[in-house]
């Protein structure tokens, strides 16, 4: 014999038990993530691959399967190879400059912290400040810096030493260099922080041992710091490469890919094919090229980092 009260109590208790059992299963915790990843990451990637085998267009309703036509077209398109060249130059220079500058700054800041020098915090904050400015606005900031008359800040300074005015954005080679400089302005912070983090993890006893052995400053750097930083440097190089290969907003705002196609990197080319020429299929084939490059670099990254231990 149960009173209505205790029935509700009991069903309530049962509900709680069910809830508790549900909470003991990982699925409810992960479900939102899995759904979002499936819809906004996995599916679009699969769709990109599928789309690249069609002639899908924003203006024509008929979409047909065209096999590898888009890829054949890319392979025979001199513009594609030119764009690959531009992307490679941009990515390579970015990696060299970001990592080198990042290394020098990280060492200088680390040194400053240890020796109690003034200004290391100001330096760190300045470098990081450039990094958090939105990409589009970085493009515009450098556009304003590089105005191509003696009224532009850089051209004025060059004028003082008798150079210029320099056509920073209308000369093809200089335009590419300008995007690389603007990219370095933004990207150095990341390398700096990664390497600085690496420096903090070098065991101090290694330095002490080297000092006991009579190693000078250079030898300690060469034989202790660098070998200890090897994996951090490698990981940084891979990440910066991936980042540089996918650069879009900064170049979009600074040069728009011009003059001509002299600063048109992969991402810009893809965007223009898909949304300015309305050729989604063609854009998708470039996206797949980028995807393959990203996956290959990620594989290298995983190999270097050996995340399997971490998981």
């Amino acid at each position: 014999m149960t009173t209505p009260d205790s029935t509700t109590d009991r069903s309530f208790a049962r509900l709680r038990a069910v809830g508790r059992r549900l909470l003991d299963h990982p699925l409810p915790w992960l479900a939102p993530t899995l759904v979002l990843l499936a819809v906004f990451q996995l599916y679009p990637m699969v769709e990109a691959v599928l789309m690249s085998f069609t002639n899908e267009s924003l203006v024509s309703p008929d979409t047909e399967f065209v096999g590898i036509e888009q890829y054949a077209r890319l392979a025979t398109d001199p513009q594609f190879w030119e764009m690959l060249r531009v992307t490679a130059i941009y990515a390579f220079s970015s990696v060299v400059l970001h990592v080198l500058l990042g290394l020098v700054l990280a060492l200088a800041i680390d040194y400053g912290v240890r020796r109690g020098l003034r200004g290391h915090l100001t330096t760190r904050v300045s470098v990081l400040l450039a990094w958090i400015v939105p990409g589009i606005i970085i493009g515009l900031v450098w556009k304003v810096m590089l105005v191509e008359s003696q009224f532009g800040a850089i051209n004025y300074l060059l004028g003082l030493v008798g150079v210029g005015p320099v056509p920073f954005r209308s000369d093809p080679t200089l335009a590419l260099i300008s995007t690389i400089v603007a990219g370095t302005w933004r990207g150095t912070a990341f390398s700096m922080i990664m390497i600085y983090g690496g420096l903090q993890r070098v065991p101090q006893r290694l330095y002490e041992a080297a000092r006991v052995d009579g190693a000078g400053r250079w030898n300690r750097f060469r034989h202790v710091t660098l070998p200890q930083l090897k994996s951090v440097l490698f990981v940084t190089i891979v990440l910066v490469t991936i980042y540089a290969l996918n650069t879009f907003d900064l170049i979009f705002a600074l040069t728009g890919g011009g003059p001509g196609r002299s600063t048109q990197v992969l991402a810009l080319f893809m965007y223009q094919e898909a949304f300015q020429d309305n050729a989604l299929g063609r854009g998708a084939s470039i996206a797949v090229v980028m995807l393959v490059a990203n996956l290959a670099l990620t594989a290298v990254y995983l190999y270097a980092f050996d995340v399997s231990e971490e998981i």
């Binding site: 990109a48 990081l128 958090i132 990409g135 556009k143 250079w218 980028m290």
Partner: protein, 310 residues
């Protein structure tokens, strides 16, 4: 010189100096010692600091200076580093173009986006840290993989995906997209923080009758709070700055445009009006710069720890 420095750590002992002088390499070695002497290195480091600060801060300051000029001054002689007088007319132009709308939109998208990211990634990070289940490693690997692949790559198919879901030209669509894109990185970072909290806390909570949700809410949330702050700051910066996804999803729906899109469109319209473009840029970067200056300590902490975790 080296030997007089109390903190000297690269020098050779004095007594060997005379012997060294006989050797052919001794002058070179002396030179090397001078170069690596603490005082020389200190000076070099100070010079480096100065150069770095100028290179990284000057462009931003120049844009501020350019934006505050009276009309025409930017293109007149003599060249001035600072404005002759402060004029806010360039800002008036940006305000008239609708910057308030862009700022409100960016703020809304950022708050909703970051809130959504935390709501989804905290439970997921908890699960990856606290549950043992089949396929856990594989799933975590996939999450990491998505973190590595740039969202730029999927903008072409994204257009059709968003269109199919009816999310094109909507704010909700953009927010959902940000949550989907940023979650992997956030989970990865948060999992690292959860892993540092000892399981004993969970067991104790269990004995006290907490279910897992209560354990997370009342016991674990406090120790992982620094991680949540870091993930929050990070995603705020990323969401506020993001351009290409917003541009692709919002298209020509100008009343929803975020600050990046607004400023980009504005400069397209104003072409060579550098003063106006500078003013728009200042407004676009100011909110993040202020947030960053206040929180940069946590930011760096998160970066250093994030780089550890991958």
């Amino acid at each position: 010189m080296t030997n007089n420095e109390p903190q000297s750590d690269g020098g050779t002992p004095v007594e060997t100096d005379t012997i060294r002088q006989e050797q052919p390499t001794s002058r070179l070695r002396r030179l090397a010692e001078t170069i690596t002497a603490p005082a020389t290195v200190d000076a070099a480091v100070y010079v480096l600091y100065a150069v770095a600060v100028v290179f990284f801060v000057f462009p931003a300051l120049w844009v501020v200076s350019a934006s505050l000029r009276p009309e025409g001054e930017l293109f007149s002689y003599p060249f001035r580093l600072l404005p002759s007088e402060i004029s806010l007319t360039a800002y008036q132009q940006v305000i008239d173009a609708g910057v308030a709308t862009w700022l409100v939109n960016s703020t809304l998208v950022t708050i909703l986006g970051v809130g959504g990211i935390l709501l989804v990634s905290v439970p997921a990070a908890y699960a990856f840290s606290r549950f043992e289940f089949r396929g856990r490693r594989g799933l975590l690997g996939i999450v990491l993989l998505f973190q590595m692949i740039s969202p730029v790559i999927i903008i072409v198919p994204l257009y059709t995906v968003m269109s199919t879901l009816g999310l094109l030209r909507t704010r909700a669509g953009l927010v959902l997209l940000y949550v989907g894109i940023q979650t992997p990185f956030s989970i990865w970072l948060l999992k690292g923080y959860f892993d540092t909290v000892p399981m004993e806390l969970d067991y104790a909570a269990r004995i006290d009758g907490c279910n897992r949700l209560q354990t997370l809410r009342y016991v674990l949330l406090r120790p992982v709070a620094p991680g949540i702050a870091v993930v929050g700051i990070f995603n705020t910066v990323l969401t506020w700055s993001e351009f290409v996804l917003a541009f692709t999803v919002l298209r020509s729906e100008s009343r929803l445009h975020t600050i990046s899109i607004g400023v980009y469109k504005f400069q397209g319209q104003y072409g060579n009006d550098w003063r106006a473009i500078a003013a728009a840029s200042v407004i676009g970067m100011l909110p993040l710069v202020l947030v960053f200056l206040g929180l940069q300590r946590y930011f760096v902490k998160g970066l250093v720890e994030g780089s550890l975790k991958g």
